[in-house]
Amino acid sequence: MPKNITIFTTNTCGYCVMVKKWLSAKGHAYEEVNLDTDPIRQQEAIALSGQLSVPITVVTKQDDTQEVVVGYNLAKLAPAVS
C-alpha cells in the first residue's frame, strides 16, 4: 500500500473523475488538489509531471519514493498503487 496519494485535478476534467472513482473502488484514500480553486499549485503539478495536463496522480511509496502518473491510465496506475 502506498503511504499517500495526491491527485491534481480541475473542475471540468472527466478523466480526473475516473481516477478518483477507480482509486475509491480499489479502497485507496487520496488527497485532491483542485487547480481551479488552488491555481498557485499549477507550477508544482507541472514540475512533478513535466506536462500541462490533468489528472496527475502522485503516489508516495512506503520508502518515500514517488511515482507520477499522468492521465487516466490504468496500466500505469494499478502497479503504481499496488
Binding site: 471540468t12 472527466g14 478523466y15 475516473m18 481551479d36 499549477q42 506536462q51 500541462l52 495536463s53 487516466y72
Partner: protein
C-alpha cells in the same frame, strides 16, 4: 473457458451515452447487463464542456453532469459498470467469449458502443509536444493556459464549442479552419461571435507544423490555401478538434465487418455481421455523432437484444 466462467445476458463494450441508455432499457427488462469502460464513463460527452442540444435540458448542462446522470439512471436498475478493457470478442456459437483485462467472461449477446476519439493532425511536432503544448481535451487541460495564447484547430461543433470554453482561460485564440466556412451549428457560430475580442478565425488555413523550444510549444505554422501565404502564430499551446475516429482497433482480425473508415457495419436491427453482436452510437457506420442519436440507438439496440434473447433463452 469452462462452465464456471461468468455468463451474462449482455456484455456492453463501452459506457458512453449509447451503452448507458441501452443498459437502462435492458436492466429494466431484467436482462443481466455488464458494461466495460476503459476510459471515461459517459464517453466524449463527459469531457465536453457544455451540452446544449440534448433534449430535456432547456438550459443545457455540463457534459460531466449529463454523464453522471446517465450512469446513475442505468445503475439504478442494476447495470454493472466495470472499469476495464475488452480486448477480443469471439463467437462460440450461441455464446460469445469476451476477453477483458479482468479475465474472460461469456455473454449471450454483446453490444459494442465504444464510440470515437478525437483524430490527430499527423503533422510534425504533434507527437513530440503531446500534453506539453498539444492537447485534445479542453476541459482537462485548458486551465494550464490562463492568460496565454493558443491555437485551436477545427471547424466543427467540437472546435467551436471548446474554443468558447477556452476563452475562460486564454488571452487570445487563433482558430484555424481548413475550409472556407464552419461546419459547426449556426447557434454555436453565433455564440462564438460574442467572443470576437478573444478569438480570431482563419478560414482556408491548414495547420502544417508545431514548433517548440526547450520542451514547450512556441509557434504553429499554417498555410492559407486562398492567399497561398505561409502563416505563423506565436502561441503557447494547440488544441485539436478535427473530427472523430472510431474505437474499433480491438476488432481487427475479428469476424465483425467494418466499413472503409473502420466503423462497424450493422443491419436494420443494429446487429453486426457476428450474430448476437450489436453496435450503437458513434462507432456504428452511418452514425450522426450526436449524443441524442447515440442514446436513441442505445435504446433501439436494447430492444433488438431483448428480441434476440427471446428464442435463445
Amino acid at each position: 473457458m469452462n462452465d464456471s466462467t461468468e455468463l451474462h445476458d449482455v456484455v456492453m463494450v463501452g459506457a458512453g451515452p449509447a451503452a448507458l441508455a441501452a443498459a437502462l432499457y435492458t436492466t429494466r427488462e431484467d436482462i443481466d447487463t455488464v458494461l466495460y469502460e476503459k476510459g471515461v464513463i459517459g464517453g466524449l460527452a463527459a469531457i465536453t464542456d457544455w451540452v446544449d442540444n440534448y433534449p430535456g435540458f432547456p438550459d443545457g448542462l455540463a457534459g460531466l453532469e449529463l454523464a453522471d446522470k446517465l450512469q446513475k439512471q442505468a445503475e439504478r436498475f442494476g447495470a454493472d459498470i466495470r472499469l476495464g478493457e475488452v480486448q477480443k470478442i469471439t463467437n462460440t456459437g450461441n455464446l460469445k467469449e469476451i476477453e477483458t483485462t479482468d479475465g474472460l467472461v461469456r455473454a449471450k449477446t454483446v453490444l459494442i458502443a465504444t464510440g470515437s476519439d478525437y483524430k490527430k493532425l499527423g503533422i510534425p511536432g504533434e507527437e513530440e509536444y503531446y500534453a506539453r503544448g498539444v492537447h485534445y481535451c479542453a476541459t482537462c487541460d485548458g486551465a494550464f493556459y490562463r492568460d496565454k495564447k493558443i491555437v485551436v484547430v477545427g471547424g466543427g461543433n467540437s472546435a467551436v464549442q471548446e474554443s468558447i470554453f477556452l476563452t475562460k482561460f486564454a488571452s487570445h485564440i487563433d482558430l484555424l479552419v481548413r475550409g472556407d466556412s464552419f461546419r459547426a451549428s449556426e447557434i454555436l457560430q453565433q455564440e462564438l461571435k460574442k467572443h470576437s475580442d478573444k478569438v480570431t478565425v482563419h478560414f482556408n488555413t491548414s495547420t502544417e507544423r508545431i514548433i517548440g523550444k526547450e520542451g514547450k510549444v512556441t509557434e504553429v505554422q499554417g498555410h492559407n490555401s486562398k492567399s497561398k501565404k505561409e502563416l505563423s502564430f506565436a502561441v503557447d499551446g494547440v488544441f485539436v478538434f478535427i473530427g472523430l475516429l472510431p474505437n474499433t482497433g480491438f476488432l481487427k482480425g475479428s469476424d465483425i465487418d467494418l466499413d472503409d473508415i473502420g466503423m462497424i457495419k450493422t443491419n436494420e436491427s443494429l446487429e453486426t455481421s457476428m450474430s448476437g453482436v450489436f453496435a450503437a452510437g458513434d462507432v456504428r457506420s452511418g452514425a450522426t455523432m450526436q449524443i441524442a442519436s447515440a442514446t436513441g440507438e442505445g435504446a433501439t439496440a436494447a430492444l433488438m437484444i431483448r428480441k434476440y434473447l427471446e428464442p435463445h433463452a
